[in-house]
């Protein structure tokens, strides 16, 4: 660095340093001051060199050459992270993927949020003044007294009060002319000529958040052009939403599907209404206690009509200026740079009201320093920079160099980061600890399983023969081994569909699936393979052959993938089935074709997974609910499992509050499914995340989307570490050049000798 600065100084003083082969064919470096022999004034080459130097020095002001960030960000209060897949949608009506809610979660404020620290996951008000408590109505719309029997409930009504004084981020949609009319409405093609991004609109404005903005967004869920992924589900509950969608379609279709501004205020929705400036009402069909969880997702965030009108103007879409790419919210951050091809930047929303950091948490949070900032106003970080990184190697190395504040752990870097103790406990390696890196682990609210198609004639159905076959396979497929080999011990063997942390999951002996495991010496043990073989005999498949026909039993596994990376996994699976003499035929295909097979119900055995939408057992048990079958009904019950008792209990459990009564029903439901074994229960993955020592208030929260406001960083410590870790090493470059030019010397001498000889002859 110092050397480069000196060179730059030399260049500025017109002292030109030239490295090259000169007339005497010697390698030399000469420094010539104002001689004019090489050059008296800078030429194109010199300017280019200067330009290159300046460009290379940009970002080197902190003593590092490899910093991907500008030098003026050296000690800025900025959080740096990466994203692998560019988000498809940032419109809260459409956005559902985890790589999208990273952004929408910080920008949009739904009425509720999850407490950052408390476990089990607990909802609390965000934009709402208090937790909404529903009241119930009968078929005639008469309010029912509390504690009335469920059969009488026809509607649930939620009145949601929002906090006054919340303001939107500065945005051109709110900019006003002197007469109070919108500054940027009715824009012509000429007006848009010099506009390429949202930042090109010079004037911005803001306004207070109103209840009507939440109502507007709920109406947008039914907009025919938006394809909201939750429309189907919400149409079953929100009164009039399905009819509303049809009504909007009848308005849009005569316009030839043109996507102009459709002012949804003109079309009332029966189940949603504004009660006053800060209150709105949502009326649901029947009882749906899980609705409050949806109120914590960006789907139910506010959308101001001004924004919809602004983005719907002709010519905006052509420039990719849409609500889908430039969100407008009231949250702690606003998206200021949206280049999904390279970088997304969120900055502190200057109009954000501030929010106190939680003062209470879970056991151990205080000891872990998670309550050190209790009561302090959030957000703590000014800016968030997310860079597109498609490959894992650069992402991991940038994390190690201190240029990303957090990282996951890929399988290729696992050994470098984590060491496992004899008891299987994961800990950081010495290299990571020396760098002050912190490891945060948690079991995800997810389940990955292998399912049997219950419509299949061999493995499916309710017969004892098929049930025993499924149980035998469940014992044979050793998921503990799978977790150890393929996941670096990052998983927990599942005993049922409900993952740890969700009500209904039971630890220890109480939670054991007795058909596959046994509890011995205070630990979980898989049943011996001899039991599986005995079950095969009882099922009529001794030694893996059908006792009647004598034909070998072949089971077909349908799975997406099939690339070289999957080969080891498939081989392992074949070995598991071979333990009980079953031949496994892996039919690998692309994801779309696999989906098609699942929808048609033609797969026999398949692999599937589910990430929780919300922390309620209903969100997992519904994966086995009969009317929710995948085949024919396009539901999420991929195994097409149907058990009348299970379905009846599901109907009861669904609307109950958490408590002993609900737990008893869930336990019964789990017993039924464990007995029937429609799934090989698989595993619940463990998440391992790494954070540098300068990142504080880190706690894994699988439910919350808006966790970045809680994080705090120490930019000075980071700047110091970066310099320490990234000092440029120049000697190998110099050595390479020296070797290259030295290697040329004998050749040049030989050539000159030949030339001289030629001249003398």
């Amino acid at each position: 660095m110092t050397a480069l600065l000196q060179i730059l100084q030399v260049l500025n003083d017109r002292n030109w340093v030239t490295l090259g082969l000169m007339r005497k064919q010697e390698l030399w470096v000469t420094r010539q001051r104002d001689s004019g022999e090489i050059c008296n004034k800078p030429g194109i080459f010199s300017y280019s060199l200067l330009l290159l130097m300046v460009a290379l020095l940009d970002g080197c002001g902190d003593g590092t050459w490899n910093s991907p960030y500008p030098a003026n960000e050296k000690t800025s209060n900025t959080y740096y992270s990466a994203f692998e897949i560019r988000p498809k949608h940032l419109d809260p009506a459409q956005s559902y993927s985890s790589n999208e809610v990273v952004f929408t979660g910080q920008i949009y404020e739904p009425p509720l949020q999850y407490h950052y620290l408390k476990r089990p996951y607990t909802l609390e008000p965000l934009a709402a003044t208090q937790m909404p408590v529903p009241y119930f109505e009968d078929r005639d719309g008469r309010r029912l007294p509390t504690g009335v029997s469920r059969e009488k409930i026809a509607f649930s009504v939620y009145d949601i009060h929002i906090k006054p004084g919340i303001r939107y981020q500065p945005h051109p949609a709110f900019a006003k002319k002197s007469d109070g009319s919108p500054r940027y409405l009715g824009l012509t093609a000429e007006d848009l000529e010099d506009i390429n991004t949202l930042a090109d609109f010079t004037e911005t404005g803001s306004r207070e958040l109103l209840a009507e903005d939440y109502v507007y967004q709920i109406k947008r869920l039914a907009h025919p052009h938006l394809h909201s992924p939750i429309f189907g589900l919400m149409a079953e509950y929100i009164v009039g939403l399905r009819a509303y969608s049809k009504q909007l379609r009848s308005v849009v279709e005569p316009q030839g599907g043109q996507q102009g501004f459709l002012d949804l205020r003109k079309y009332p929705l029966a189940g949603v209404e504004v009660l006053d400036r800060y209150t709105y009402r949502v009326k649901l069909i029947g009882e749906y206690p899980q609705f409050v969880y949806w109120l914590a997702m960006p789907f139910f965030g506010p959308i101001p009509v001004e924004a919809d009108a602004f983005y719907s103007q002709p010519g905006m879409k052509k420039k990719n200026i849409t609500l889908d790419w430039y969100p407008v919210g009231t949250g702690p951050y606003m998206l200021t740079v949206n280049n999904p091809n390279r970088q997304m930047v969120m900055e502190r929303n200057p109009n954000f009201r501030g929010e106190p950091y939680p003062s209470e948490g879970d056991v151990g949070d205080r000891e872990n320093g998670l309550l050190a900032d209790a009561g302090r106003t959030m957000p703590f970080i000014d800016r968030m920079v997310f860079s597109l990184e498609k490959e894992t190697i650069p992402t991991w190395n940038k994390f190690l160099q201190g240029y990303y504040d957090a990282s996951g752990i890929g399988s290729d870097s696992f050994d470098q980061a984590i060491q496992l103790s004899g008891q299987g406990e994961a800990a950081l390696t010495d290299t990571m600890r020396e760098r002050g890196i912190k490891l945060v682990t948690s079991v995800a609210a997810s389940t990955y399983y292998m399912g049997f198609n219950m419509r299949d004639l061999v493995v499916g159905g309710d017969s004892e023969r098929a049930r025993k076959l499924r149980r035998a396979i469940s014992i044979a497929v050793d998921y503990e081994e799978y977790i150890s080999i393929f996941l670096n011990d990052r998983g927990v063997p599942a005993q049922g569909p409900i993952p740890p942390g969700i009500f209904g999951y039971q630890r220890g002996e109480a939670g054991v699936n007795p058909y596959v495991y046994q509890w011995k010496n205070d630990e979980l043990q898989r049943r011996p393979i001899s039991e599986a073989k005995q079950l095969m005999v009882e099922a009529g498949y001794p030694s893996g052959r059908d006792a009647k026909s004598g034909k070998p039993l072949i089971v077909h596994l349908d799975t997406p993938g099939g690339g070289p990376d999957d080969k080891a996994r498939f081989d392992w699976l074949r070995k598991q089935f071979a333990k009980i003499d079953i031949q496994l035929d892996v039919r690998a295909t692309d994801y779309n074709r696999f989906q098609e097979k699942m929808i048609k119900g033609t797969a026999q055995l398949f692999q599937w997974g589910w990430n929780a939408d919300y922390p309620d057992p209903e969100n997992f048990l519904f994966l086995l609910y009969g009317p929710n079958a995948k085949a024919g009904k396009n539901g999420e019950n991929a195994a097409n499992y149907q058990n009348s008792e299970f379905d009846r209990l599901f109907g009861e459990m669904k609307s109950m509050p958490n408590g002993p009564e609900r737990l008893a029903i869930i336990q019964r439901m789990l017993e039924i499914t464990q007995r029937d074994a429609p799934w090989i229960w698989g595993l619940h993955p463990k998440r391992f995340s790494l954070f540098h020592g300068w990142v504080h208030n880190v706690k894994q929260n699988d439910m919350a989307n808006n966790t970045l406001k809680y994080k705090r960083i120490d930019p000075l410590q980071r700047a110091k570490r970066r310099v320490e870790w990234n000092q440029p090493v120049l000697w190998p470059v110099v050595l390479t050049l020296v070797i290259f030019f030295a290697a040329m010397i004998p050749a040049i001498s030989t050539y000159r000798r030949k030339q001289r000889a030629k001249g003398t002859t």
Binding site: A55, Y96, H227, E391, E596, V729, T750
Partner: protein, 325 residues
């Protein structure tokens, strides 16, 4: 010459239609509109109605090539192929499946691609020709033998190795430049140093060998022997006469590549996080976004045809004996 150019442009039309037809056919052999919809709408809670609506809005609910429901010319025009293809010929690329305007994205991504491709192309050409000349200059010496062995070794190694190795050595061990990323304006240079270096080194083996062969062939011609017999220095013979006469075969390979520089580099851009057209194409293939795939294939074909035309025209410039007819 104008008539020749016009004729070549007219010849290009059936080629472009053929390329478009082939792209369309190949794409829809592997993907159906239903699969495309499912890919875009996500994995959770996607209803058949949503898939139908998605297809309807984007015109994927029609027949692929021939609409049996329509009559007359409409049987051909009211199809996905016709509707998606015809606008390409006026360079209206339409929207990607995620709603973004493809033309806008291409314009935005062209510059990063060029920022990488132009230095690799120009500096690379300079380096390859220089190396080839040096090797030819020292022919039958250890420099020649070593150079050829090195060139064969370099061309036997995968580009991916150069990329990962370059990132490991230059960025991770020596800390000289950022490992990946991109920025606008002058700040882009520090991100481009390594990919440009890798691009040049990746091509040095094959190109140096190729140019060396050209130079050696040229050096065996009579006029070179005459020049040497006149007592000209080897340096003058090589740089003044041989280089000039070797330009035609060099031009063949070079001019055709110029228009294709716009298309970017698929792997390099992806590994170095350069938001160019190469990574745009790769992303589109992964996302099964037909709109982008067909646009990029079409653009590539147009530029390739343009490259061929430019090559033919450039012959007349370097060799007056060549006449276009």
């Amino acid at each position: 010459m104008l008539a020749y150019i016009v004729r070549r442009i007219l010849y290009a039309l059936p080629i472009l239609i053929g390329v478009n037809l082939l792209t369309f056919w190949l794409f829809f052999i592997v993907n159906s509109p239903d699969e495309m919809a499912r890919m875009q709408l996500g994995q959770k809670r996607v209803t058949p109605e949503a898939i139908e609506k998605w297809k309807q809005e984007r015109g994927y609910d029609k027949a692929l090539f021939y609409n049996t429901q329509a009559e007359g010319g409409a049987a051909f025009t009211n199809t996905i192929f016709f509707e998606k293809s015809v606008r390409l010929f006026v360079f209206d690329f339409g929207s990607a499946d995620d709603g973004r305007d493809i033309g806008y994205d291409i314009r935005q991504r062209m510059m990063p691609s060029l920022a990488l491709a132009i230095p690799v192309f120009t500096v690379g050409l300079l380096v390859y020709i220089t190396f080839a000349l040096i090797i030819a200059f020292f022919r039958a010496t250890y420099v020649d033998y070593l150079g050829v062995v090195l060139a064969v070794a370099l061309m036997s190694i995968s580009t991916l190795f150069y990329i990962i190795g370059g990132q490991f050595v230059v960025s991770k061990l020596l800390h000289l430049v950022p490992i990946s990323g991109y920025d606008g304006g002058l700040a882009a240079i520090k991100f481009l140093v390594l990919p440009v270096l890798v691009g040049i080194i990746g091509g040095v083996g094959a190109s140096t060998r190729f140019y060396r062969t050209i130079f050696l062939e040229e050096m065996s011609k009579d006029y070179v022997r005459t020049a040497r017999a006149k007592g000209m220095a080897e340096r003058v013979v090589l740089f003044k006469h041989v280089l000039k006469n070797a330009m035609i075969p060099i031009l063949t390979g070079v001019v055709i590549a110029i228009p294709l520089l716009f298309m970017g580099s698929l792997i390099t851009e992806s590994f170095f996080g350069i938001p160019g057209l190469g990574s745009y194409t790769i992303d589109a293939i992964r996302a099964q976004d037909f709109g982008i795939v067909r646009s990029m294939v079409f653009l590539g074909s147009v530029l390739y045809i343009l490259g061929l035309l430019l090559t033919d025209l450039s012959y007349t410039l370097v060799d007056p004996r060549v006449r276009l007819s």
